[in-house]
Symmetry: C2
Subunit: 217 residues, 2 copies
């Protein structure tokens, strides 16, 4: 499968690397072709890994993963181009975290709106599926590193796209439990989860944890 990774940070690197290892052709996109981190990632990952602009990557991918910094996602996706995203599934992994005032970060969008919704509004012909944004990137690509079953959440307006993404993340990374929260407005729930996620990371002294939803028998 041809997959676009938008963003050269830790999340893009982890997802892109894992997807190349699984045999996919992955193009990493960034603001400019020849981005230092993208070049390093390509060198590390061999022939199936390529890089280019956000538009190059989005055009290449049959499916697109938004791994850009949440505060820059809308601009990055604008550069990727609505024509290159049209009709495709966009897996939105980003959180609109503002680190500019130090730790802990706040959210630039929350409560009455979410990044997932803003992206869906800006790209109405793209099937935006919000998921993977509630775990650290190591857990994201290797959920079995944790000791117990635990949950991932998924939000989006297109039921078929959500079903497809659910199957993909199970197949790609070994996720077993994926809870469908509903339409893209439910991204508010998962993005706002970052407020406790950040504080748990400090309390637990590790980013390698996740939430398990425990119910009655």
């Amino acid at each position: 499968m041809k997959i676009a990774i938008l963003g050269t940070g830790m999340v893009g690197d982890a997802l892109g690397t894992k997807l190349v290892q699984l045999g996919h052709e992955v193009r990493m996109g960034s603001r400019t072709k020849g981005n230092v981190k993208a070049i390093e990632w390509v060198k590390k990952n061999g022939a199936k890994a390529t890089e280019g602009t956000f538009a190059d990557a989005a055009k290449f991918g049959e499916i697109v993963l938004n791994c850009t910094s949440g505060v820059g996602s809308l601009e990055a996706l604008k550069q990727a181009g609505s024509q290159n995203l049209k009709g495709k599934i966009l897996i939105d992994v980003a959180n609109p975290l503002d680190f500019s005032k130090g730790m802990p970060p706040t959210l630039t969008i929350c409560n009455t709106d979410s990044l997932g919704e803003q992206i869906q509004k800006a790209f109405p012909e793209t099937k935006v599926v919000k998921t993977l944004n509630t775990t650290n990137c190591l857990v994201m690509v290797n959920p079995s590193m944790l000791t117990d079953g635990h949950d991932l959440f998924i939000s989006g307006n297109d039921a078929a796209a959500k079903a497809e993404v659910t199957e993909l993340i199970k197949k790609w990374f070994g996720w077993k439990r994926v809870i469908d929260l509903g339409d893209i407005t439910t991204s508010r729930g998962t993005e706002m989860l970052l407020a406790i996620w950040i504080r748990l990371m400090v309390a637990l002294k590790t980013p390698n944890f996740n939430f398990k939803i425990v119910t009655e028998s």
Copy 2:
């Protein structure tokens, strides 16, 4: 122990009832003495259950539980009176949820502030401990109703008060896992968790669930 429950809703009823069953003297406070729900609760719970104004209850309690609706908590606590809360532990169970525009509710305070912080600021001589606010009231008083270990979170500026509350909720309700998130500003994390909590309640079709934090071995 003499305990004040502020608020006559489901949470106050559940906590007050359980605490009476455990042998404590519990006074339920509301805006006016003789509140219909408070009277009903007293009738149901016998001699150890009494009711009165917020001030009556706060004066009575060696420890005070804020179970009022989050949007009305500051006003209710003002009526309870800073002199009646002075030096005491206030367990803040409330969430600042605004249901006035229908479901799902939004938060009236979040991201850069929290209800827990606002209460601590308004009552600097009271030891505000935020906890229990991330579960349904049935789970709150009976955590073993769920199938697996699961977590409660605690936030507050006073370490001794947090330790005391942790012991109390373990002893009272059987909680086993309580994660100390840090000072009262970490209430932002647990209050904002309500955004996914509300959506999980819809997706799971039950309010009887909780979060377990899963880590590496």
